[in-house]
Amino acid sequence: MLEIKGIVKQFGAFRALDGVDMTIERGKVTLLIGPNGSGKTTLINVVTGVYKPEAGRVYFHDDGKTLDITGWPPHKVFAQGIVRTFQIPQIFQKLTVMENLLAVARGQAGEGVLNAMREGRWAKQEEELAERAFEILDLVGLGDVWDRYAYSLSAGQMKLLELARALMAGAKLIILDEPIAGIPIAQAHAIFQTIRDVNAKGVTFWVVEHRIDIAFKYVDYVYAMASGRVISQGAPDAVAKDPKVIESYIGG
């Protein structure tokens, strides 16, 4: 579904990504691991258009077509059906939890300035979106705080809101940047179970996560990065035993 070829990203003299190749298979849950500073989040930023790479291409395969989405602005990447969360939650602070979800829904008729004044054009769509949003909030366990301002949530709840927002956006590929960092173990398992449930409905996932003890139980394929390069890939068991991976974590 997503094909990353030879991506290079440079910040001044520092080469954050040094020729990264990666393939995210359709319908699978792919995990990306690696020590701090290995370039995981930078890679996501390149794919979603937040950063532009110095070299390399990003291809998106969908509907039998291949699109070169390298360097596209974020809103166009989104339009193709790619959605992401942020490692440090980038929620809409002064919106309520519910509004955070409604704001990201796709194809809203009421977002044009002239349509905005004509409630009849969007009220029905808004009702449907609100229903879906309530279902998603109940699914991730934020149903009781739907009308609270987002800034008043706990750090863990903000993480859940990030996940809920990604689900709300109706994506084909969801990229999660550390979805369970700082979340208690039982809830972390529940989150990965939710990921699997949504995945079963046909949504592809690409997850960055440090807590491999939990994550490895739920994913199909694993990439490991260190110092801006892919150092290992394969099934979870194989990567877990790869001495290069172990060394990068201990040495890094």
């Binding site: 979603t48 258009g49 937040v50 602005p73 974020p74 809103h75 990447v77 989104f78 339009a79 959605v83 992401r84 942020f86 980038q90 929620i91 809409f92 602070q93 002064k94 919106l95 309520t96 519910m98 509004e99 955070n100 409604l102 704001a103 990201v104 796709r106 809203q108 008729a109 009421g110 977002e111 044009g112 300035v113 349509n115 905005a116 004044m117 409630e119 969007w122 009220a123 808004e126 009702e127 609100a130 229903e131 309530f134 279902e135 739907w146 009308d147 301002y149 927002r165 956006a169």
Partner: protein, 388 residues
């Protein structure tokens, strides 16, 4: 929800009728009524100005430091363009009376005989209220169109950049336009200032003020209705999402540049409307006076009243004018106490007020409310019933 917006609008209409009755048809002493009449017209005009600023600053988080530019463009549309159109229409009559075509030598017109020409034009307009109204509406519409276009044009070079760059560019643009148009005599008579024919010349004295009060109030009501309706829609919500996190909003499909352009065009048009009304009411304009301070007076009103809330925007304007008027009234007694000229006291007081508000009540007098699109509680109940 349009029902909520309409309820607020009706409350605004009632408030305007009450204060209007107080100022125009009450047993209050004449000088108090005249004072009230004046303040009310200003409040209506600045209400439009600050509501439009609220869409940019309160909703989108756009650092609109060039807001005064649109009062200026409104003044140019009225004093520079619509005025000349009226002079053209009456040029034969003017020629007959004064022996010269007004626009033949603009510098002479500006320096020597614009006052006498305008009083002649006003006499003729008084006989022709329909033309007066047409001239009024033309000036207003022109101000809106020009402001929308120029607002986007001036912001365009920095529209893709971070907010601070955009803010600086807008600030500089306002000053640029002010200085250039001020020293270009043909625009609006430059340093002489342009005398503006009165579109409601048929109305005299208090009736004239009443006509302006009704006209500006009608525009304020319309502005409030429009801005509160779009504020309480998916559009308004998208603006706030962009304000809170530009990166997240972009990643979730919002085209930031497009939203900025829409908001700038829309808000600038209404600020231009305020500028046109101000120029007509004043019946004189001097472009050099449109200093950046009027941008920041708008910000002051908005911060005091409540960023992100259209009701707050109006409340901020009202509070500002109450304080300002009290200071004006008690100027002399203050001078005796202070042993200094209290002219600048207003700036000091509002400066202090902003600091105190930002420290202790950053949400302002009327805080921001969540965007109200539909009744979410109802949807919630329906879903919970479905689960059971």
């Amino acid at each position: 929800m349009i029902r909520d917006v309409l309820a607020k609008t009706v409350a605004l209409v009632i408030a305007l009728v009450v204060v209007g009755a107080l100022a125009f048809a009450s047993p209050l002493p004449k000088d108090v009524r005249v004072l009230l009449q004046n303040i009310e017209v200003y409040i209506a005009i600045y209400g439009i100005y600050v509501i439009s600023l609220n869409l940019e600053v309160g909703y989108l988080g756009l650092p609109q430091f060039g807001k005064v530019m649109f009062l200026l463009i409104g003044a140019i549309a009225v004093g520079g363009i619509a005025t000349k159109l009226v002079l053209l229409i009456y040029q034969n009559a003017i020629f007959k009376a004064m022996g010269a075509y007004p626009l033949a030598k603009i510098s002479d017109y500006c320096m020597y005989y614009q006052y006498s020409v305008t009083s002649l034009v006003n006499q003729m307009l008084a006989q022709n209220p329909a033309l007066g109204l047409g001239y009024f509406l033309f000036g207003v519409a022109l101000a809106m169109v020009l402001s929308a276009g120029l607002g986007v044009l001036f912001a365009y070079p920095a529209i893709r950049l971070r907010e601070d760059y955009l803010g600086i560019l807008l600030l500089v643009s306002g000053e640029f336009l002010r200085v250039v148009t001020y020293y270009a005599t043909p625009v609006a008579c430059g340093v002489n200032g342009a005398v503006i024919p009165d579109p409601f010349a048929w109305a005299l004295g208090e009736t004239r003020t009443l006509v302006y009060f009704i006209a500006t109030s009608a525009f304020l009501i319309a502005t409030f209705l429009v801005f509160d309706a779009i504020g309480n829609s998916p559009f308004g919500r998208a603006l706030r999402a962009i304000r809170d996190s530009e990166t997240a909003a972009a990643v979730f499909g919002k085209d930031i540049v497009k939203f900025r352009i829409r908001v700038l065009a829309f808000a600038s048009a209404f600020a231009g409307l305020a500028g046109a009304l101000l120029a007509y009411y004043f019946d004189y304009t001097i472009l050099g006076t449109y200093l950046p301070i009027y941008t920041f007076i708008g910000w002051t009103m908005l911060i005091l009243g409540g960023l992100g809330n259209n009701v707050g925007a109006i409340v901020g304007v009202v509070v500002y004018y109450i304080v300002q008027t009290l200071l004006d009234i008690y100027k002399n007694s203050l001078q005796a106490v202070l042993h200094a000229d209290p002219t600048y006291l207003a700036y000091a007081i509002f400066g202090l007020a902003i600091i105190l508000v930002l420290m202790y009540r950053p949400q302002g007098i009327v805080p921001e409310k969540p965007v109200k699109t539909i009744d979410l509680n109802k949807v919630r109940e329906r879903i919970q019933r479905k689960i059971k």
